[in-house]
Symmetry: C2
């Protein structure tokens, strides 16, 4: 389901996604995309903040983009749902 | 409560905040800051998307930033809550 370097945030506890992001970086990813839509967007921000503040201080937020997707409702009606992608990037180590 | 050019998104229906953003632009603002924290972050994204897609197509997202605030819990414990600021900017009119 997941593309390479992408973590889709859903309704599980944030720490599940935090670990998924950290695993991607430990596997050599230079950038990881955290994607969410609808109410999970708040959780995606939590995930990015937890990864950066508690686990990997050498990460920066490269970019945040938002969008709108049209979903088919249960009765054939159309629903708009917001989407967000947060791109985390490993900063190059600085020389002292 | 609101700073100039800033709309704080809380738990009301999104359209309330959409109208607040549009009003700021109609009063001459070049940039409007949409701020939210915790679960309201998803709603802030909805607000920005609705304003841009349905009402003011000459707006672009200038910047999105995230952060973490420490709150005092009810029992004196500390809670971290994510914050987000979306900056909407009026694009200069293009000549044809």
């Amino acid at each position: 389901m997941a593309d390479d370097n992408t973590v889709f945030v859903g309704s599980k506890p944030p720490m599940n996604y935090v670990l998924a992001v950290i695993t991607q970086f430990h596997n050599g990813a230079k950038k990881v995309y955290i994607k969410a839509r609808g109410r999970a967007i708040s959780r995606a921000v939590d995930v990015a903040e937890i990864v950066r503040n508690k686990f990997m201080s050498d990460l920066k937020i490269d970019n945040i983009t938002t969008g709108t997707e049209e979903l088919q409702g249960e009765r054939g009606d159309k629903l708009n749902v917001s989407t967000m992608t947060i791109t985390l990037e490993k900063e190059s180590p600085k020389k002292k």
